[in-house]
């Protein structure tokens, strides 16, 4: 057995060798040896394990060592950083510093603190962001790298940026400037300004920008400096439109207030409680002469208050400051003031104490009232003046109220009326003074006052004594100062004497008028009474001339004729004058050939001139229109008078008749017609007198030259009637020039009445009825008519004439107007209306007044001849009214002769061919329509209808100048109306029809040709 060495040794040493071989022992020793062996194995295992652990331990140790070093290093670092980061650290004891635990605790504390701070900071940032985001200003923060750090939504909105703030952060602002730029009024300037601000990096606050839609933004630029280093900048933009607007409004209102204050017509001055001037408007400058700059800060005493009021002003101010009261405040007072020149003048001033922000100041409104003062004074003086006038002029003045009761009366009224003033008050003037129908008049006047009308009237009244007086009363409504009618004022003047004179004058005038009428009647009568015998004288002289006379007898007859004709001309002149004075003279207007008028006059007067050895030269300007319109007779009369006058007063030399045109218009010519003679002339001073009646410069001349003394008067009156002017220039001894200027309308040659050819005056065989009561006149007429081979039947008055006419028809009737039994007018009416005769009736009248002529014509006479008549006139007139019968008889003979006469149509149409043609066409149509209708009416015996048809065409026939049937037409109209004489109606109708149809044919040719 192999035992363990140790065990072996031990057994060897301790166990006897006997035992050693014991089996029991050997089994024992074997077991113990097994344990030894196991122990040995365990021990080896143990060793190995220990070795391994040792190795491991060494490694760990090594690592730890390194770690430690590192820790050491980091602690070192920690210390360093602690020293650096935290000032508090240095305060820590050195001993403690080595205490890592303390440090760590400290640091841990610090960190906790910091975390706290950080948390707070974050909250703050968040708060700020929210704040900035919600701020009503646009905020843009940009860092130094021109990167947006912050922007709020509001900025995006107001700058019209289309990005959200989150998008913008981190971007460049330049990206968005384009959006914003267009918003502003001057977009380029906006951008430039931004660039400028950015380059300066100086704070800019309160810049106002205006957008194109009139909003305003206030923009601030704030560069952000931290420790003097700019780290970025902030833009802030706020919409201040409202503010700007209200500011503008405020400015405007302030401006307006200032303008109002300055333009006020009152001087406005404010002073503070110490009396210093604080405001001084423009008007104050004007009124007081002081400039605003000169007075501000001064006291009123130093400027505008006159010396004597200075103390009062100071006291007043003091009194107010002490008591808060001032007797002159808050009302209008008048005070004197001085201007800068020291001139004193009155002002109206109101001082208003005002309080603003606890400061008391006084505002004074002042007005220069020197003008007003002057006016007031003037008014006072004037009032006094008028009061004096009323008192001194003895005009009775009363005031009555609305009930007509006297409220006031002055002394003059008292003396006019005879009452005492005290008695008058309370009286009713209408009841007291006025009587009878005048009451109504006065009431009417009072009504007028109520309407506010004032007037002056005259009224008879009774004064206190009951005497009749006439008063002129000027009444006017009386108003109180509110314009309410309170009564009326009457001013009374006693005009009794004037009124009496007026009444007398009135009756004188009446008398004068009656006298004038009597004169006219006298003239008319005289004219008739003288003419009748003169008619005989001239007529018989004419007859006598026809006898075989000796030369001497012939000369006597001739002289008698001249004398009687002169007498006639005097009567004619007197008649003319009285006609003119009675307004009876009227000027006819008809076309005439001017040259003919002149030559008529010259032809008549030339022999007379030659007889005296004078030359009569007429000279008509060739500019004078050939045909003019006017009254030939009167024009000739004027020329006869003027040239006759010259002839009378000229002994040698010549008489020159000149006609010149002064003015030539389309419608009229202004002519100057002058008669220049080389006669005896007269003083120019007398020249105007020649137009007076019966005047010649020297009474001796009258005897020498004779004359009616009316010629020039008539001439002047006639020229005035023709709207002309006459002018005399004369020099004694060398001659006279009388010229007149008249306007004459231009006429047409077509309108000239053809002068009847003298051959036509063959009236032999004509049957004349002469109605005349005066036997001499009858004989004169019969002689003349017999001389021309007329058959004359006489009648001495109207009744006789009518009796004769019942049985016999005549070609013409000559009818005296004034006759006994039945005068010519009545007879004519009877002839026309009862006898139904159309025989022409010529009036023979000695009364040449127009009224008489009109009466004749109205009665149905055809024409008139004034007695004494010129033989030719009578014959010519008779032939004019009788010859047409002859023409009618010759109608057949003159078939080709035109039945119509368009002269008057041409004259009416002013020679306008279109008008003529139109009228002819109308006429033809009318005739063609009427004639068959009329014929039909005739065949049914409807004479009245026929009469109407005839009546209808009569004016046309007259217008077309178909004269041959005019009389027949009249007759036809008349007898068909009566409807009794069918035979005559039929015969006249067919005669007319023939003529009309012929005329129509001729007219047709006329318009075709």
């Amino acid at each position: 057995m192999d035992l363990h060495k140790l065990l072996q040794r031990q057994i060897n040493k301790n166990v006897p060798a006997d035992l050693q071989d014991n089996p029991f022992f050997q089994s024992f020793i074997k077991t113990v040896n097994d344990s030894y062996l196991s122990f040995e194995r365990d021990k080896d295992l143990m060793d190995h394990s220990f070795q391994e652990s040792e190795k491991e331990y060494n490694e760990v140790h090594q690592n730890l060592k390194k770690e430690y070093e590192l820790k050491q290093q980091s602690i070192l670092n920690l210390y360093e950083s602690l020293t650096q980061l935290d000032q508090g650290y240095s305060s820590i004891n050195e001993d403690e510093k080595n205490d890592l635990l303390f440090i760590s605790k400290y640091v841990s504390e610090q960190i906790t603190k910091r975390k706290e701070t950080e948390k707070k900071l974050f909250e703050t940032v968040q708060f700020l962001k929210t704040l900035l985001g919600n701020l009503q200003s646009g905020i843009l923060v940009v860092d130094n790298n021109d990167t947006i750090l912050f922007v709020n939504q509001y900025l995006c909105d107001i700058r019209n940026i289309n990005a959200s703030p989150d998008e913008m952060i981190g971007k460049k602002p330049a990206q968005y400037i384009g959006d914003a730029q267009v918003l502003f009024k001057d977009s380029q300037a906006y951008k430039n300004r931004i660039d400028e601000i950015l380059s300066r990096k100086e704070i800019v606050i309160g810049e106002i920008l205006e957008t194109i839609d009139n909003r305003f933004f206030e923009r601030d630029y704030v560069p952000i400096f931290i420790d003097s280093i700019c780290i970025g900048h902030l833009w802030k933009s706020t919409d201040v439109t409202q503010r700007i607007k209200s500011k503008n409004l405020l400015k405007q209102s302030e401006e307006r207030n200032r303008i109002i204050m300055n333009s006020s017509l009152n001087a406005i001055i404010t002073i503070d409680s110490t009396g210093k001037i604080t405001f001084w408007n423009n008007q104050a400058e004007i009124i007081f002469g002081w400039k605003k700059e000169e007075v501000l800060g001064k006291t009123l005493n130093e400027t505008i208050i006159p010396d004597r009021h200075k103390e009062g002003h100071t006291k007043g101010l003091k009194y107010y400051t002490e008591t808060g009261k001032g007797p002159v405040l808050n009302k209008q007072i008048e005070l004197p003031a001085v201007n800068n020149m020291g001139h004193e003048f009155p002002v109206e001033i109101s001082i208003i104490p005002l309080e603003q922000n606890g400061e008391v100041f006084f505002c004074s409104f002042m007005q220069d009232i020197s003008e007003r003062k002057k006016t007031e004074t003037k008014l006072k003086v004037q009032e006094e003046k008028y009061r004096n006038i009323i008192t001194n002029m003895n005009l009775g003045l009363i005031e009555v109220d609305n009930n007509e009761i006297i409220q006031f009366a002055n002394q003059s009224f008292a003396s006019i009326s005879g009452f005492e003033i005290e008695e008058l008050i309370g009286l009713n003037p209408a009841k007291t003074f006025v009587f009878g129908e005048n009451l109504e008049k006065l009431n009417a006047k009072n009504k007028l006052r109520e309407k506010g009308v004032s007037d002056v009237y005259q009224i008879p009244v009774k004064n206190k004594r009951g005497e009749l007086r006439w008063w002129a009363i000027g009444g006017a409504p009386n108003y109180d100062d509110k314009g309410k009618l309170v009564g009326s004022i009457g001013i009374h003047l006693d005009i009794t004497e004037q009124k009496q004179m007026e009444i007398e004058l009135e009756s004188e005038k009446l008398k004068a008028e009656q006298a004038s009428k009597a004169k006219e009647a006298f003239l008319a009568n005289m004219s008739h009474e003288i003419r009748t015998p003169l008619n005989g004288i001239i007529g018989f002289l004419r007859e006598l001339e026809r006898q075989n006379l000796t030369d001497l007898q012939k000369k006597y007859v001739e002289n008698s004729t001249v004398a009687s004709k002169h007498l006639l001309s005097i009567i004619n002149n007197i008649l003319d004058i009285s006609k003119i004075e009675a307004g009876e003279m009227s000027i006819e207007v008809e076309d005439f050939i001017f040259e003919n008028v002149i030559s008529n006059v010259v032809n008549v007067l030339e022999p007379l001139a030659k007889k005296k050895g004078l030359k009569l030269i007429s000279q008509i300007s060739k500019d004078v229109h050939q045909v003019l319109k006017g009254d030939i007779v009167r024009l000739e009369q004027v020329l006869f008078n003027l040239i006759g006058n010259s002839l009378k007063f000229t002994h040698k030399g010549k008489i020159h008749l000149k006609c010149e045109v002064l003015k030539d218009t389309k419608t009229f010519q202004r002519l100057q017609i002058s008669v220049v003679d080389t006669g005896i002339g007269m003083e120019q001073g007398y020249a105007e007198n020649i137009f007076n009646k019966f005047s010649q410069e020297d009474k001796a001349i009258t005897r020498k030259f004779g004359g009616t003394g009316l010629g020039m008067t008539i001439t002047k009156e006639l020229i005035q009637l023709m709207n002309g002017k006459i002018n005399v220039q004369s020099e004694k001894g060398s001659g006279t020039t009388i010229s007149f200027i008249i306007d004459l309308e231009k006429g047409s040659i077509n309108n000239i009445k053809k002068v009847q050819d003298e051959i036509n005056v063959d009236i032999s065989g004509i049957n004349v009825l002469l109605v005349e009561d005066n036997i001499i006149n009858r004989m004169v007429a019969i002689n003349t008519l017999n001389y021309f081979n007329c058959l004359v039947t006489e009648a001495t008055n109207g009744i006789e004439a009518i009796e004769i006419l019942k049985n016999k028809s005549f070609d013409i009737i000559l009818m005296d107007v004034q006759m006994p039994e039945m005068d010519g007018i009545e007879a004519t009416m009877k002839i026309r209306e009862e006898l139904k005769l159309q025989t022409p009736i010529i009036a023979l009248t000695a009364n040449a007044f127009k009224s008489e002529v009109d009466k004749c014509k109205n009665a149905g006479m055809d024409d008139y001849i004034t007695k004494p008549f010129e033989e030719f006139d009578l014959i010519e007139t008779i032939s004019r009214y009788t010859n047409k019968h002859g023409a009618l008889n010759d109608a057949v003979k003159e078939k080709d002769k035109k039945l119509y006469d368009l002269k008057s149509l041409y004259s009416i149409g002013r020679d306008n061919p279109e008008f003529i043609t139109k009228m002819i066409i109308i006429f033809i149509e009318q005739i063609k329509e009427v004639i068959p209708n009329a014929e039909a009416a005739l065949s049914c015996d409807e004479f009245l209808v026929l009469s109407q048809f005839i009546h209808k065409i009569r004016p046309s026939i007259e217008g077309m100048g178909i004269f041959s049937i005019i009389e027949d037409i009249k007759i036809l109209e008349k007898i068909s109306k009566e409807g009794s004489d069918k035979e005559k109606i039929t015969s006249i109708f067919f005669q007319i029809k023939d003529t009309l149809l012929t005329a129509v044919e001729q007219l047709k040719e006329e318009i075709q040709g």
Binding site: A476, F915, M919, I922, H951, K952, R954, E958, G959
Partner: protein
């Protein structure tokens, strides 16, 4: 002459010839505002045109001249109506004037002169009416 008062004329006459004549008369007198109606009804229907002067034929087929005259006068009494008639009848003339005609003219060759006279009369009357307004009454002692 040159400065003539212008009037508006109506000529009422069923006789075209006469109407044309009057028309020409008035043209000659330098009036140019002239209207012609051939019957009374047309004239009355056109009164709103405010004629100043109407020349009215008395004897017309549709309505009697007097009826027309009365109607005109009822419409506007200030229109001057001049009756023109072929009848030389005093009664007609008096009636015309009674019904308010300004004047009465008898047809004939002297109508022209008559028309001119009448127009002048109308001018004078108008002038007179104008002047008749109470002038400014000078206020005596106007201080009150």
């Amino acid at each position: 002459m040159e400065t003539k008062t212008q009037f508006k004329f109506f000529i009422v006459d069923d006789d075209v010839f006469c109407a044309n004549m009057y028309n020409q008369y008035l043209v000659n007198m330098k009036y140019d505002d002239l209207t012609h109606y051939s019957n009374g009804s047309d004239c009355i229907a056109n009164l709103h045109l405010k004629p100043d002067i109407i020349f009215l034929d008395h004897n017309m087929e549709d309505i009697n001249g007097f009826e027309v005259l009365k109607k005109i006068k009822r419409y506007d009494p200030n229109i001057y109506v001049v009756m023109i008639s072929g009848q030389e009848n005093i009664e007609t003339a008096v009636d015309a004037l009674k019904y308010g005609a300004f004047d009465y003219v008898i047809k004939g060759n002297d109508v022209y002169e008559k028309l001119e006279l009448i127009i002048n009369k109308i001018i004078a009357v108008k002038e007179q009416l104008k002047n008749n307004y109470p002038g400014f009454i000078k206020r005596l002692l106007s201080i009150f």
